[in-house]
Amino acid sequence: MIAMRIGLFIPCFIDLFYRDVGIATLELLERLGHAVDYPADQTCCGQPMGNAGFVAECRAVEALFVRNFDEYDAIVCPSASCVHHVRHKSALPDAIRARTFELVEFLHDVIGVDALPPAFFPHRVTLHNSCTALRSLDHEPAPELNVPFFSKPRALLARVGGLEIVETERADECCGFGGTFSVSEAAVSARMGQDKATRQAASGAEYVVSADMSCLMHQGGSAARHGIDMRYVHIAQILNTKAVDA
């Protein structure tokens, strides 16, 4: 395999709140033998404004994105919703959009499942596919559709030693984060988060794993508020556990 120069895109809220998710993503990509760089002047892809309909307000942010990431073979990001925005909703150049990958699809489609280092996570987990992972990035087919089943995150998690997946009722139902929706429709959003966390707890899982930290930020906040005992981890954190940890 030819080593790639990867530009690591760490979205704003992961930069601020979830340093360890960024570290796990970086280490995992480095362990695969790639040169990973984190362009220091990066900020955001413009999704917060774009999702609210403020397209003109995205332009300067997108110009900065190009300056930061133009030189890399691949741009990898541990957030499905940000990659959805870059690829399908932004006015970024086609060349940038085509080279931007969400971590799960990068590992599954570009690197290949067999190349991944062994990982060990002896816990019961339940998988939360974000709405963009399901209905835009094809991590799994949306359950509403009558098409053959496949699952990229499950294919990755199947290689993790000791890990058991349990299912959450209404797994495909949106958890209610929705970006600015979480504050403009705060009551509905919070109730959706509470319902999601309640069903996750009923699944018997110890951890909720997802490729989207923004959903987990909302779900974790809901669980904590309602006294629901649940831990939330990004899929990079599980895939980057080392077998020797056991």
Binding site: P48, G53, E57, C131, C174, A187, V188, G193, A224, R225
Partner: protein, 494 residues
């Protein structure tokens, strides 16, 4: 006589017991407050719906049950996705040849003895109906459910003209008697508990206030409505499909009330939006297979009736209504919303709709399809509706005619922003976010500042009334160091 329980869509629904206390004690939450053309505040109405746990729980479970049944039915048909594509393509064909097909329909219907009327808008539609009623000296109109007549405000118009309207669909009748709009395009009273219905019927048709079993309530409504249907001179139905090559009107119902309205009175009026046209009789095979499966998760409606002409000695009128549809057809990003066959699948699957109730949208059409249709009637009044969505896309995935609903919701947000409809606060905060996120040094100062301060903030300072996030959720624990700072420190190491 032995009573047989009919195994139809509603009959197969699981009985849902409301969680918690006696539901009779919980008043029914009412819908959005309408203040003229001022923006309808969905979030405010939703908050009141959420504060009624019995109603919320029933509504959410009942509609999710419909979504699950829809999944089961659609997964049982191997060619389901091809059917959706076919339906979408037929609608695209019809909408791009609307003028020819409508004239073909008019020719064929006229040849069958039907009188075809054209109505540019709601006012013209209502005037045509009033004229027909006057001609026949009718002071009563029995009608089946029609979203178009809701859209046209027909009931209020006729009331002012001295005509009393009798809705014959059970759910629609409940809503009429309670002086409320339908909250769902297929199940109009789904936001009500049976105790609510018992209270409405006790007040209006004299049922026993202590009895709320559905069979008794439904039977009582039937007994009070039946004589009105038998006496009516004019009946009205909507239309699910207009067939161009035969001039037929197709109406799909589960209660059979539309057939009574169409067949018992001598005069039958059909109100139909111009987008209801399909080219050929054979096309119905595609749509009939999709409609009820998508709507209620049942293979077919109990009645699929084809009306081709007046009964002997009677009259049949079809009013083809535009009311903004031609204009929508010319809207590049929104014209495919005219493909909608009003199955309500997008509402059933919408997590926001299920938790806020249809009346919280304050518009004729609620739920995802409403978010993309309502603003075309009044941009200012419905300017907040496109924000009543998480853009999760489930609506698009269930849509039997493949309307990209969630993408159109986002497009409407863009239209609203371009026309400066969002609040000043929102406009300023978006400009502020843009300025911050396009300047790396300002952004770094903000992130690192937050990481330095947040871990040490006392609860009362973080969780204040201005913090909409904190009202229902905890703020994540900031680690005290951003990823950026970690990466910089790591790079400095030898």
């Amino acid at each position: 006589m032995k009573r047989v329980r009919v195994d139809h869509a509603e009959g197969r629904s699981h009985p849902i017991a409301p969680d918690g206390a006696d539901p009779a004690r919980e008043p029914q939450p009412r819908g959005a407050v309408i203040r003229g053309r001022r923006p309808v505040d969905h979030a405010e109405a939703a908050e009141r719906f959420l504060a009624a746990p019995d109603h919320l729980s029933f509504h959410d479970k009942r509609l999710w049950d419909l979504r699950e049944k829809r999944d089961r039915e659609s997964h049982g048909i191997p060619e389901w996705e091809q059917l959706r594509q076919l339906a979408s393509d037929i609608k695209e064909y019809a909408l791009t040849r609307l003028d020819d097909l409508l004239e073909e329909f008019e020719r064929n219907a006229t040849a069958n003895g039907v009188v075809v009327h054209w109505a540019r808008d709601a006012a013209e539609h209502n005037r045509i109906v009033t004229d027909i009623l006057r001609t026949h000296g009718a002071t009563e109109l029995v009608k089946s459910k029609s979203m178009l007549t809701e859209e046209c405000g027909l009931r209020d118009h006729l009331q002012e003209a001295g005509v009393s309207v009798i809705e014959t669909d059970l759910g629609e009748r409940i809503q009429q008697l309670d002086n409320e709009d339908p909250s769902h395009v297929v199940v109009p009273a789904v936001h009500k508990l049976r105790s609510d219905v018992a209270a409405v019927f006790a007040r209006t048709i004299g049922t026993d206030p202590g009895r709320d079993d559905p069979a008794y309530l439904a039977e009582s409504q039937r007994m009070s409505n039946r004589p009105l249907i038998l006496d009516a001179r004019v009946g009205m139905t909507g239309a699910n499909f207009l067939v161009a090559d035969s001039g037929a009107v197709v109406v799909c119902t589960n209660e059979g009330n539309a057939d009574l309205c169409a067949s018992v009175p001598a005069v039958h009026i059909v109100s139909a939006g111009i987008e209801k046209i399909v080219p050929r009789t054979g096309d119905l095979g595609v749509f009939i297979r999709l409609l009820s499966r998508s709507a209620l998760g049942s293979p077919i409606t109990q009645y699929t009736s084809h009306f081709r002409g007046p009964r002997a000695g009677g009259e049949m009128h079809v009013i083809l209504v535009d009311n903004g549809r031609s204009e929508r057809l010319g809207a590049e990003e929104f014209w495919t919303s005219l493909k909608c066959i009003r199955c309500g699948a997008c509402m059933n699957t919408c997590p926001v709709y299920r938790r806020s109730g249809g009346l919280s949208y304050g518009a004729t059409y609620a739920g995802p399809i409403g978010l993309i249709i309502d603003p075309s009637f009044n941009r200012r009044k419905y300017s907040l509706l496109p924000y009543a969505s998480t853009l999760n896309g489930s609506c698009t995935a269930v849509c039997p005619v493949k309307i990209n609903i969630h993408e159109q919701i986002l497009s409407w947000r863009r239209v609203m922003a371009e026309h400066h409809e969002p609040s000043m606060t929102k406009q300023i905060s978006m400009k502020g976010a843009s300025a911050l996120l396009s300047r790396p040094s300002a952004y770094r100062a903000a992130v690192d500042g937050a990481n330095a301060v947040l871990p040490h903030m006392p609860r009362f300072a973080l969780y204040n009334p201005a913090n909409a996030w904190g009202k229902g959720r905890e703020i994540p624990q900031a680690p005290g160091q951003s990823f950026h700072a970690w990466f910089k420190a790591r790079r400095r190491k030898p």
